[in-house]
Subunit: 337 residues, 4 copies
């Protein structure tokens, strides 16, 4: 009963079907193929704005490539202290960005808020000696399983733009946030400059995408992507993976199912045990060491979550999680004191 | 009738079959899955030595990641003047290698030879002011469609090792070279430290691999790969693509078929028109501008090949090239004066 | 009456005298000269251990070069939240270290302490996805004008070594710390691996130095320094600047004088106004906006100090500060409510 | 009798005098001082165009900083095969330029010529897969001791600009070229975008300068310089070194004297022994191994010069070379068969 991560889930059949359709063709290499063109159209339509779309194999590549296009090597990216770019990407921004830095700002439940952002910037100077903020990155859903509503994204984006920052959204679990808010995708990214479009965690295979809404930011992306070894010759097979999810509607269906599973777990967990509101497909629980050990002995797999302290545990519900596993874990949660 | 490149060919059915088998599973992320383990075993067996295998989406990623593990940022990689790493990877070595340089050496028909290598090194000094060679990269089959025999690879590897260089083989078309020489794969890489194992051009999809034979070179590869956004969470789907090719035997079958097509074209081309020996799946022809134009008007697609001068053209035969296209082009070649 | 910084002070006559002596010679370039050799001997003697010495023009170069030798591009340097490497070096570690990161840890009065260091490390995981700490950097005297005693440096160095970290000391104001503690220089760096030896702020001109005690860390420094354009051909003139300060004793005399001036100011400042203990040549004062304005109107120059809040001001006493300026400022301080 | 290099010469008294004048002051740090402002005015006047001036400690720093401002990390700098940036700067362009490459072009006697430049560019493609040329760097006087006349510089600069390249001049020995042509400094850099202004080899100490004529290129230089640890707090002492040379006229006087010495040697050397025209302060001679050995046994020091083959030797005349040494070497030259 594996609640380690949604990143290990199965691949949705719609993805395989799309691959099977694109595989036999001999199409022009390097994104000059019909699938890549269709992806551009579909994604532009989905988000209600003309977009450039650059498929890449991982979320780390998507985030780092996107942010590198926003900041010079001597610039900084304002990010949450617990953001994926800080904790789980091995310093990829420093690599893609040639030494660009993260400027970390804390915030409750994994969310950035304007008072803390203002305070952080007030402690900085605008001169040649200090790393200058050049971008703001938000994550929706956050690493704490919470979400920003469309209005919150808009307010943060405006805050960033007013200070000359480009605004990036890490949407590794964007589908989960969309589903939670019942929002239109376009409203979730309304004033965002560029997006890491997450697919892998909602049924995808090995394709995520950088989606660029701000035309100027797309200028250097093709060569950055090529030079990073992220531009496959048979690009149609990357595009097809994403088309399979989006055109079939699977992208949101899988998120809806995973969110519902997490909600069932949250309902089962005593309120005082819940470390964060459950708004996506993750539950963070306060569990003592012996309680963790008992769960593991019973066959449940999950991660300790260091940033929330030694008694924190993270349970992620996959889109293809067995109902029986969710119910078994929920029973355990209900039995907690 | 498309002779532009083998990099745009169809995906072999064996790859799709392997994907379909691995897709539904929920397996541990980040290469801790059975497919990744099997890939390591299969590749070690194929090349007759214990190997670490790191799937990556492109040949550019494979080459740059492999070479970055061999040279410090201030080091140099000895390469042929027309190597793919020089001409078609957008300076990826400089990116992955943090400024590491290529030290280019010319050689007839795309091949490096020891006299020219010796001469190039004799013009360099060993001091702190000059980029010091730290690796040698060979390409087999070469960018000129020629090949090194096992003994030639061995001799060059020994030359490099004797000078303290790590030895890398760009095997984007290794299968084509193996088939040409009727050699065992193990003999083709006998004294090589690490290999870019090409799959995409012989029926693969979006997975190539860095294969590391020298254990010390594998030490930094996992973190380099992660940081470059090249380590997919669902790694089993990368491994499966390669397993599909290797376990089915498709990897060599496709190469054999492509080589035969190129040989048919070579036989049809007047000898004085042939720019390089045809030993793999590429034919380089001397064609005047009006001859190129006539071919293109007749529906043939191919690349001009600048490094061989303005009258050079490259024709690549794909594994899934239609016989009719090959025959049509051969007819044209036979008709040339 | 300029209390902006010690980095703008005059050059001590001993430095000019040493330059005049070394200038006319034609000596071997690139540190193969007698002055560079003498510097190595003098510094080794001063710190009681065999050392390699690499003069560089700035403290930023010294810190970044030293730290880059300690951490791989994917590694992290544990540093105080307000350290110079974080706030005043424009992300130089990211540049010299090819994307290496700072891992910031807070601490009272600019000092790192083991409980906070332990807590910070407890929130991190040791895996390929997270930046791994590889070095610890201390600053003595700190950016808050406080100091570590020899025993404190030793304890922190041992803490770092026990966790596999290399230990670096930013000694931009090391002389001030030595003088404050009345310690032997050797005791101030007893278990430190490498040191940025500050000279500019204590009467130097345009030469600081990286001093390497751990022999393995010196291996890559020559080529790193050359490649960064930091290895002057007439290296004897860099060495001579430092020799002038050290051999004359001016290095500590200047620090003693500056510390005494700061102490006089601290004594004059009402205790409740003092933001940090005054242990070197800097005074941090709580001053309301109108109080700052009044001082500035009276001709005093000083920096606001954002990290200590909007009411913070920093006054630095230079080695060549006029007594009259110190006394005038002290009078102002005494008059504060 | 040392003919190794002009980079080890003495420092001209005018430099020391300027330092002595600037040293005692307490002036605003980081180039906000009167000397730095005067340097900007003097250099603008010298070259007849408004210029920004950024002193740096070495020619390597000047070249790499200047070129990094001209090319993106994925761009290329067209340079002579034997240029200093290729052979003597440890790959500094790759470091400062985040992986930017040199695109090497051969040319007789160390000089680039338009036919070879055209041929080199004709072999390249303009696409995302290939490093795109973004700058052209010339060296005057060249590494072969030859020079470009003002008209040649102008023609090459126009060639570059017509192809969208920024044009940089490595002027490590610009004074020698100016003196040789009897040209006005302004004419020597008339259509150049930015210049590495050499001072060290003509009597300077540890200051060269990046001189930027194209205003857009100056935008990122301050932060690039700071981040590279090349922006000294006491910047007035860097400016003063250069002012000392330029304002006193020593900059050209020293070059005139050194050129004359080299001419005397050239006149003494049998014509068939001369590898390159002698137009600056360097003589390249064909000498057999036993002839080199005999000279060395007689106390002459000089470098072998690998790029011109095993029988090549380089003799550099310093501005402060003793007449007796020149005469002694000339006698030896005259005695050669």
């Amino acid at each position: 009963m594996d609640f380690l991560s949604d990143n290990a889930a199965g691949v949705h059949p719609a993805v395989l079907a799309a691959l099977a359709q694109a595989a036999p063709a001999c199409a022009d290499a390097y994104d000059a193929d019909p699938w890549s063109r269709r992806l551009k159209a579909i994604v532009s339509d989905l988000f209600g704005r003309p977009a450039r779309v650059f498929p890449v194999p991982t979320g780390t590549a998507a985030n780092a490539l996107a942010l590198a296009a926003c900041v010079p090597p001597w610039g900084g990216v304002v990010a949450h202290t617990h953001a994926h770019v800080e904790r789980d990407e091995a310093g990829a921004l420093g690599f893609f960005g040639h030494g660009a830095s993260l400027l970390l700002v804390p915030g409750a439940h994994g969310k950035l808020a304007i008072p803390e952002l203002d305070a952080a910037l007030a402690r900085r100077r605008a001169d040649v000696h200090q790393v200058q903020p050049a971008a703001l990155t938000l994550t929706n859903a956050t690493e704490a399983g919470t979400t920003y509503a469309p209005d919150e994204v808009r307010a943060l984006a405006r805050w960033g733009h007013a200070r000359g920052l480009r605004v990036h959204l890490d949407g590794a679990r964007l589908a989960n946030a969309i589903v939670h808010h019942g929002a239109r995708p376009a409203d979730m990214v309304a004033e965002v400059d560029l997006l890491s479009l997450g697919c892998v965690k909602t049924g995808g295979m090995t394709a995520e995408a950088v989606v660029v809404f701000a035309p100027d930011l797309a200028a250097t992306l093709p060569v950055r992507r090529k030079r990073a070894g992220l531009m496959p010759s048979k690009g149609r097979l990357m595009a097809a993976q994403i088309l399979g999810l989006l055109e079939s509607g699977a992208w949101l269906e899988t998120a809806r199912r995973a969110n519902a599973g997490a909600q069932a777990l949250a309902d089962a967990l005593p309120a005082k045990r819940r470390l964060h509101p459950v708004e996506a497909n993750m539950v963070f629980a306060h569990l003592e060491a012996h309680e963790k050990a008992a769960l593991r002995a019973a066959g449940f797999r999950f991660h300790d979550w260091e940033v929330d302290g030694p008694a924190a545990a993270r349970f992620v519900v996959r889109w293809d999680q067995e109902d029986s596993a969710i119910e078994a874990l929920a029973r355990r949660f209900r039995a907690l004191p």
